[in-house]
Structure formats: structure tokens, C-alpha cells
């Protein structure tokens, strides 16, 4: 059975990848996270009927759900566009073997459908179908309802892959899609055009009409044929790769960094590294979204008196880029670490460059989050303190503990759901960095006052900034101690 061989070889590829076993701690952590998410989704699934019954509307829960179907489809496409990794089944070694090409393509297209992550939302849909649809309609309708959702997942997976293969994933196309989606939502809100009503009648037909499911299946078939057609046009890897590789080198002018000497050169190098790799670029985009994270907390009454939590958010907001990139600092140089170690760069200069880069990130984020000051003086004080603490304490913690990341980092893959090179150490470092200050603020606020808490952390941060040179020396010594272990780890590859 040829197809079985292919499946087995794909499976071997994943578990023979180096670091599959080494990363047990991370796998366990992710496992727990997955279970937690699953539990939440199940809970939503079981309570969705009650929630929708309370809605101020004459429609029954399934009609409401059907109205949301097309929105779910669009959201799914957007998320897939941003996050889904294209199946990286490596064609060339198989192309030269006597294997039918349609078999290869079918395998390439259909394999992603077996990924359980696609079916995560069924944890909501199935309980809802059992509790609500069976009650309002019948078992048969409930079954069709679930099936229509499965077809929607297939349609999305295939269409998402097609769009991504055909148009690549540039920031511009992503922004255009987001804008279009926002437009649809706005039209709905102002009652100009209702996708909800279209969705309700369309999916109402699919679920209730005996032949309705055929329409959904037809959609899947069309998406599948589109993909097949794309591959018939682009079977040769050279053509195909040039399609994916949409990133042309834009040599940005970073000459303003020249006046800072070697440190400026090194910072320029790191900026180019960020802009020219998929993984770092997607971290950058993601950070853009996270800038709005504060809105969730600062507007929420429940957190108004939880100073610890608020400070946690303040630190996250003002240190966003530092935290997102800082956990990879030094190890993102892994592929050219030998180069940096043998070129005329003193270690102190190298670490200083990284320090200034992180500091610049801090300043940028602090400035970008100043609009939050409209939420009151408390937020102003919190952000200021968080900024000083990040710049004086956390920055050095990151530099110091970065030397324990000895895994080579593959920057060519998108960062979403990408845990390559992640070890338990990445999670360990977050504890002193984020949770300790949060606890300090929480405890000091309840013992004394919020002012005492903030002043304490601000003083710590100021001391760190004051003793910058000594702390850098500490990091340099640590770096020199760990240098050989790092160099060896980075050479090993994954």
C-alpha cells in the first residue's frame, strides 16, 4: 500500500526530528494547555443553548447559530491565513520515484484534514447539537447540523491552503482581508447589509432540506478541485517555491545607525534579522495585535481593584516587544553564532548591542501605549513604573538567562503554533520576569498601598538602570561561562 508508506514516512519525519523527545516538558505543558482549552470549549458547547435562548430575539438557538455560520467560515479563513502552516510534505524526493503524481497531490491536499486541531470546534458544535438541535428539531437534523459543520471545516481548510499557496501571505494581503471583514461587520452593525440573514437562510436550507447537505459537499468539492488545478499548473518545485517565496529583499536604509559605531552595526543586523525571517516577522505582526490587549483589562470593572493583575498587564504592554523578542535573544543568532564569535566583536559590545535593542523596544512600546493614559492617572503611574522596572531589571534578567537557551532556532517558519526551539527554560524565565512583580504589587498593595508597591518596583528598576555597567559585566561573565555550551548547541541543529 503506497499511501500507507507515505503516511508512515510522514509520521517518522515528525518523531525522528531531533528534539522530539528532548522537549518532553514543553509537550506536557502544551498538552495541559490543550486539555484546558478543550474543557472550556466543551463547557461553552453545553451552555450555548441556554445562552442563545436568553438572546433578545425571536429566533431559536439553531437559527442563531446558522446565522453565525458564514461569520465562522470567514473568521476561520482569516485565522488559517494568518496561522496555518502549509503542509510541508517534501515533494522532490518522491517526484523522482515511480509514484503517480495525482496520488502525491491528493495526499498533500487531504493530509491536513486529518489534523485534529481542525476539529476542535466540534467540541462546541456536538454538545450544542445534542442539547439544542435535537430538542428543537430531531436527531436527523442534529446529525445534518454536525455534518454541515464538518464540511465547513473541510471547505475552509482547502480554501485556506489554496489562497495561501496562490497569493502567499504578505502583510498587505492580510490587512486587506482584515479590513474587508471589518467592513462586513460594520455593514451588519449599521443594518445596511446583513450577512447574518444570508447565512441563516443558506445554512437553514443546508441543514433542513434533505438535499441541502449536497450543496455543502459541492462546496468542498469545488475547493478541492481548485487546489488540484493549482497543482496541475505548479507541479514543478521551482515554480511552486517561487510562488511561496513572496518575500523579496527590500534593503531598507538603516544608515542612521551608523553613528553608533559597532553597536549601531549590530543593532542594524538584528533589525534586518527581524525583517527578513518569517518567524520574527510574524512575532512583530502579532505584537501589533497585542497592543490592544490592554483594552480588555483597563475597561473591565472586575480588574479595577486588582492592582497586581493591572500591573501585570502594564508590564506586558510596555514591555511587549522586549518580552516577545527578548526570550529569543542571542539564540536567534544561532545560525551565525560562530560568525559573531570569531569576527572582531568584543563580547561586551555584542551584549551591549542587544541591551540597547531591548531598551529601544521598551521605549517604543512605552510611547505606543501612551493612549492608555486616558484611562486615568493610575494607569499612567502603572505604565511608568512598569517601564522603569522592565528597563532596569527585566532587561538584565533576559540577557542573563538567554545564555541558557542552547537550541538552534529555525527562523524560516511562521511563529504561530511554532514551538521549535522552545524548552521549559522559556517558561521558567517568565516566572521571575512577570509573575514575581505581579505578586509583589498585589501583596504590597494589600499590606500598605498601591503607591508603596509602585515606588518599591520603580526604585528597583532605577537601581538597575544606575548600575547598568556592573550588571552588563555580570552578563558578560555569564556569557563567557556559557559560550562553548551555546556554540555547541547552536551547531547541532534540529
Amino acid at each position: 500500500m503506497l499511501i500507507l508508506d507515505l503516511v508512515v514516512q510522514e509520521w517518522k519525519k515528525s518523531y525522528r526530528a531531533q528534539g522530539f523527545y528532548k522537549n518532553l516538558a514543553v509537550s506536557l505543558l502544551l498538552g495541559f494547555f490543550t486539555l484546558y482549552m478543550a474543557a472550556i470549549l466543551l463547557f461553552i458547547g453545553f451552555s450555548l443553548n441556554e445562552i442563545l435562548e436568553k438572546a433578545d430575539n425571536t429566533l431559536n438557538p439553531m437559527e442563531l447559530f446558522n446565522g453565525a455560520m458564514l461569520y465562522i467560515m470567514l473568521m476561520g479563513l482569516i485565522i488559517r491565513f494568518a496561522m496555518q502552516q502549509l503542509n510541508t510534505f517534501n515533494l522532490p524526493p518522491y517526484q523522482v520515484l515511480p509514484i503517480k503524481r495525482s496520488l502525491l497531490i491528493n495526499f498533500l491536499l487531504l493530509k491536513p484534514l486529518t489534523n485534529p486541531i481542525n476539529y476542535f470546534l466540534l467540541l462546541v458544535v456536538v454538545p450544542f447539537a445534542i442539547k439544542s438541535v435535537v430538542g428543537y428539531y430531531s436527531v436527523g437534523v442534529a446529525l445534518r447540523f454536525v455534518l454541515s459543520f464538518v464540511f465547513l471545516i473541510w471547505f475552509n481548510s482547502l480554501t485556506g491552503a489554496y489562497i495561501k499557496r496562490k497569493y502567499g501571505s504578505s502583510l498587505l494581503s492580510f490587512l486587506l482581508i482584515i479590513l474587508a471583514f471589518a467592513g462586513i461587520v460594520a455593514l451588519e452593525y449599521f443594518k445596511v447589509f446583513s450577512l447574518f440573514n444570508i447565512s441563516k437562510s443558506f445554512y437553514g436550507f443546508i441543514v433542513l432540506n434533505p438535499y441541502g447537505l449536497l450543496v455543502a459537499l459541492l462546496m468542498v468539492a469545488v475547493a478541492f478541485m481548485l487546489n488540484k488545478w493549482f497543482f496541475s499548473q505548479n507541479f514543478y518545485p521551482e515554480k511552486f517555491n517561487s510562488k511561496i517565496k513572496s518575500d523579496k529583499t527590500v534593503t531598507r536604509d538603516l544608515s542612521f545607525l551608523n553613528r553608533f559605531g559597532v553597536i549601531g552595526e549590530l543593532i542594524g543586523l538584528e533589525l534586518k534579522l527581524i525583517l527578513r525571517h518569517k518567524r520574527t516577522k510574524s512575532i512583530l505582526y502579532m505584537s501589533g495585535f497585542f497592543l490592544f490587549y490592554g483594552l480588555l483589562f483597563y475597561t473591565n470593572k472586575a480588574y479595577a481593584h486588582n492592582s497586581g493583575m493591572l500591573f501585570f498587564v502594564a508590564m506586558f504592554m510596555t514591555g511587549l516587544l522586549m518580552l516577545m523578542f527578548g526570550q529569543w535573544i542571542i539564540s536567534w543568532d544561532s545560525s551565525h553564532f560562530d560568525s559573531l564569535m570569531t569576527k572582531n566583536i568584543p563580547i561586551r559590545t555584542y551584549l551591549n548591542a542587544n541591551y540597547y535593542l531591548l531598551l529601544a523596544f521598551n521605549v517604543i512600546c512605552f510611547v505606543l501605549t501612551t493612549p492608555y493614559f486616558f484611562f486615568g492617572m493610575k494607569i499612567v503611574y502603572m505604565h511608568l513604573t512598569a517601564f522603569i522596572f522592565n528597563a532596569g531589571v527585566n532587561i538584565f534578567l533576559l540577557l542573563f538567562f538567554a545564555t541558557y537557551n542552547t537550541r538552534k532556532l529555525d527562523l524560516s517558519k511562521s511563529s504561530a503554533m511554532n514551538y521549535q526551539g522552545t524548552t521549559y527554560k522559556n517558561f521558567l524565565i517568565v516566572l521571575p520576569l512577570m509573575f514575581l512583580p505581579m505578586i509583589i504589587v498585589g501583596v504590597l498593595t494589600s499590606l500598605a498601598s498601591i503607591a508603596v508597591a509602585l515606588w518599591t518596583l520603580a526604585t528597583l528598576g532605577a537601581l538597575g538602570i544606575l548600575f547598568r555597567n556592573q550588571l552588563i559585566t555580570l552578563c558578560v561573565n555569564q556569557f563567557n561561562r556559557r559560550k562553548y555550551i551555546m556554540a555547541e548547541g547552536f551547531r547541532e541543529g534540529e
Partner: protein
Amino acid sequence: MIQVSNLQKAYNGVTVLNIPDMTIPQGESFGLVGNNGAGKTTFFRLILDLIEPTQGEVKIDDQLVMRNDAWKTSTGSFLDEGFLIDFLTTEEYFKFVGKLHNKTDGDIALFLDSMKDFFNDEILGSKKLIRDFSKGNQKKIGIAAALIGDPKILILDEPFTALDPSSQIRLKRFLTDLQTRFNMTMLISSHDLNHITEVCKRIVVLEKGNVVKDLQTGDDTLNELEAYFAV
């Protein structure tokens, strides 16, 4: 120039390199040959302070290389692709390395001009990233970058592999030229006995981490080496 004393490197108790004593004087062209696993790259990595010796030390200009930055100003090296910064374009990369050695843009342009022959019009002037170049051209880029800071010591690991025949001949001529004009100290490893005996005045043969031959290149060095490696 380079002084090695009692140098040992062991992995899990297995000694992979053991050089009790060796001096490489200024201006010497030092060739290193040996089968795979003989310890050539390990030796170079120890000199470049990329791995920690189990025992012993390496000194460059009477200064220990370990955890020291001083030797980096006078040493140029290229061992493998890890010595390149592959997401830069070639011009950006040369400029970056040049700036580390306090070169002005004019200096760098002059240097690149002198490499024109070696580059054979394939390296400069395209917006291609280094990672998109072929192995052979990446090697040329790495060798050129090692030379940009006017090093007193040049360390190259198998510089002839992956180069096309013309480039191999050019590189040989180029290396000989560097020796005569700048009295540059060179450490070169190679699997090609012809090339190495042509370029180097001294040939050291490593086997399982030990120095088994240390020859001054003469008329029958090539024959001696061929006899040694014959199976």
C-alpha cells in the same frame, strides 16, 4: 605567533585531539591534512575559541584565546556556512564585517575591487541574499569576508571543496600572493593533497587526533603523503 601547548579535547572521555606542543610562526603557511574525524576542524575551532579545550591552551601573540577578544582583530576565518550571516545581501555583509574593522566605505569598495577576479562577476551587484547563493559562491563570500580586515592570521577549513576548477586555481594563486605580499600566516585544511602541497610550506598530518607527520614541503612531499594515505 600561534602557540599550542598540551592541547587536548575529549568528548565523553574519548580524546579526539591531542597536540602536546606546536608553534606556528609568523608568515608560515600551515597545511592540515587527515581523513574524516582526524580532528582538523576541532583543532581550528579550538584556535578560534569556539570550543573549550579539555586541557591545555592556545595562545595568539602571547595572549590566551580563551574567553578573550584580543585575537579577533588580527584573525580572519572561514570554516563553514555558520561563519556567514545568511540573511544579508553580499554587499551588506561585507560592509558589516568591514565596519567591525573600522573600514570606511571607500576602503571596502577598494577591497571588493581587488576581489573582482576571484568573484568572477557572480557575487556582487545582485540583491540576492547570501542564503540563496550556491555552496561554491557562499565559500567565496566567506573567504573574502575573512580577508576584509587585513588579518595577520587566516584560517580556512577545506577552502577548495565546492569551488569550480577555475576558482580553485584562482584561490591558489591568491593565497600564494597573500603570503608573499603580506607575509600572512595561514592555516588551511584540505583533502586535496595536490592543492595543499602547492599552497603550504609546512604540512601536518593528523590521525585520530594525533600529529603523525610534520613536514616542510619539498619535492617529494606529495609522494610521501600519497604513500601515507594509500590504502
